[in-house]
Symmetry: C2
Amino acid sequence: MVLRKKERTYSRYSTDAVILLGKLIQLARKERKISESDLADRAGIARSTLQKIEKGDLTCEIGLVFEVATIVGIKLFDAESRLTMQIERADDKIALLPKAVRKSRKRVDDDF
Amino acid sequence: MVLRKKERTYSRYSTDAVILLGKLIQLARKERKISESDLADRAGIARSTLQKIEKGDLTCEIGLVFEVATIVGIKLFDAESRLTMQIERADDKIALLPKAVRKSRKRVDDDF
DNA sequence: GAGAAATGACCGCTAAAAACTTCATATGAT
DNA sequence: ATCATATGAAGTTTTTAGCGGTCATTTCTC
């Protein structure tokens, strides 16, 4: 019995965002004259995985992608205010909202 | 023989960035009064996976995280200029650099 | 307060990702 | 031009993330 591959759909934005991130990583790596092997070693991942990341493969673990990005100096969030501070602010906002959402009555609501 | 779990290290920034992203997603979800199940369904993922994403689990696939973020309206890159345009610009910059990096002489260089 | 729904946490299974390896080719420093 | 090495592209093995399920608890609506 052949198991069909699980079809996964991604929005155009998600796809493009990951591709862009991968290219920014590659660009930063080359500007800093770091080889794939070197960067992979520093990040503690396989070179093949780094190649997937730079290609914008959507299946890579977000932790690995962010780690590589961080190593080559790419910040995804404004470093202006510390991340921990932003996290706290998000927590505060969440605390103000109801802890459990109660509403959607099976409204799938395809928004278009 | 006990196999030790592969130790993976992440920088503070990566960890915090993913946690922040997860919280921003949860915040956006609650503001829009969408339940975990609903959002998971819309994204085509399991509720357990969404929970991991909102907790900032570093092992989640980047595509799933970005997809969920996109659904609740979070943009990681400036939507001012189109992403495709930014991708092209990155490509152009990369094209100007040497195709193969040549330099690092086994400098592991633990930077601290 | 009652009841329905949302959330939090856990677990086994399996498809799939990451690691590891190899090889060919392209590339750049000398 | 030489040659060490960076890159591209597989194939295989190992590890693991996502799924789907369960159950207890909390929370919101009425």
